[in-house]
Point group: C2
Chain length 295, copies 2
């Protein structure tokens, strides 16, 4: 077995992503010599202890990061500023601070200024998830064949970036570096907007008058059913994603709304050729995804 990448890995937040990393560390043995888990609620900490997926649990984030050579923020991105403030004075010299947040400009804005000299900050985002959350939801193959995007600010220590890249490769992911603003824009369309649409259509259906509302549930055909799967995702995590990728998300929603209105106009005026062309483009994109093995 290879030497562990880190002596001590502190996971601040241990939901779907954090608990998957913990499970992989346990299974492989070459991620970290010791895994320390911190969570906001006593209930989560208790559950992590029961699951036995961390070497140590620690209720205080400042305590959790003591002596850790890698600290990974795995909480909802809205909690990062508070966490960074709490741990900054306690980070070990030379430690790497990283995260798994779905928005990267906000993380650099919130966490970057609080990182002490001598600590290396390597923002990261594994593109993996399910609609389940919490420490029970994680599993060791979550990242297999998925991308992990690193968005290190200019001047970040190259050796630290490489160590985080290696951590994610050992988790099964493919790693690529990306500019933070570009990351936020791409994620807005491939992930954040689809979630916003899914949450919204569930609300629209839930607002229907009595009988129809019941029948939406009874007759949920393919289509709505798939949307509800996405819409079952963690509310706090997604609230924070939306609020922390505001500009890119609103821009993509504006473009989408223009396109939906153009489709509505084609439906109203019976422009079958327009509708068919749009559907064909969807099919074409699906085929491209299948060729790229992303579907």
């Amino acid at each position: 077995m290879a030497e562990p990448l880190f002596r001590r890995l502190a996971l601040l937040g241990i939901g779907l992503i954090g608990s998957s990393v913990a499970r992989i560390a346990r299974e492989r043995g070459d991620l970290a010599g010791e895994v320390v888990a911190n969570a906001r609620t006593p209930a989560t900490l208790k559950r992590v202890a029961e699951l036995g997926i961390a070497d140590r649990i620690e209720a205080d984030p400042a305590q959790a990061v003591q002596g850790a050579d890698c600290v990974m923020l795995c909480a909802p991105v809205g909690a990062f500023a508070g966490l960074a403030e709490a741990i900054a004075p306690h980070l070990a010299p030379g430690a790497i601070l990283t995260d798994v947040g779905s928005t990267k400009q906000s993380v650099i804005r919130d966490v970057g200024p609080l990182v002490p000299a001598g600590v290396h900050f390597v923002p990261a985002h594994p593109l993996a998830g399910t609609e389940y959350s919490g420490p029970d939801a994680g599993f060791t193959t979550l990242f297999d064949g998925r991308w992990c995007l690193l968005t290190p600010p200019p001047g970040t220590d190259a050796a630290s970036v490489e160590k985080i890249a290696e951590l994610w490769r050992r988790c099964g992911a493919m790693v690529q570096t990306m500019e933070p603003a570009h990351h936020d824009r791409v994620l807005a369309i491939v992930s954040h907007l689809p979630h916003l649409l899914a949450f919204t259509i569930c609300g629209t259906a839930d607002d229907l008058e009595g009988e129809s509302r019941q029948e939406v549930l009874q007759f949920a055909a393919t289509g709505f059913r798939d949307f509800t799967r996405i819409a079952a995702s963690d509310p706090v995590m997604w609230r924070d994603v939306f609020l922390n990728n505001r500009e890119a998300l609103l821009e993509m929603l504006a473009r989408f709304t223009e396109d939906a209105q153009a489709m509505a106009r084609a439906v109203r005026w019976g422009d079958g050729a327009y509708i068919e062309d749009k559907i064909l483009r969807g099919r074409h994109i699906r085929r491209s995804l299948i060729e790229l093995k992303q579907a």
Copy 2:
């Protein structure tokens, strides 16, 4: 084995739904003594012959319905008026004319007036489908545990309605009768609008500038990937659905757009409580679906 429900079943159109019915008829033996398949294109007819899923293929719909005691329209709903016109003079006295179209008011509008006296018209809609189409796409378990909605106009012969109900039960479906306008409204939200949104977001992504467009494909996270699956559906079938459920679809899209704009406003002004509440409602609907075993 039970007596076949029909002596001769004519399927006009033999894509995903029609070819699944044909396969079930072949497997069970108690749907029809003979299955006659008609399709618009010679290529489809040839493929049906190769697959061996019909007893007879017939290029002319008027020929296909000769002597059939059940005729099922399985083409895209936009083709129904033309088909009905072609077959009306050739329908056998006492025959049942039914369909599988996703819109029911339009079918009653287009086909109803052309049904000869002595022929029983029982509109139906099995709520089942995949993103695949054509005679190769069908399979015998497609309707297992799914709903089939019947929307017979007032005064329809009760025995004929019951025979079509029994046909769908033998196909594995659960059957319920519904008022046509109500059907179209429920389907607009559970199926037609989700498809419209999925087609639209694929187009929005496809319109992105060069580099981002490529990365949409490369990094299609959960969310976009699920939408593209829906968006891979048959273009002509869905074009016809949109054009033939215009009013209900535009109404549901208008409601959805209002809700999406309210969500956009909450994102812009940082109203986290509003966003979280909407996401929680999505989760609640998902749980209800799981309890109803529709997900």
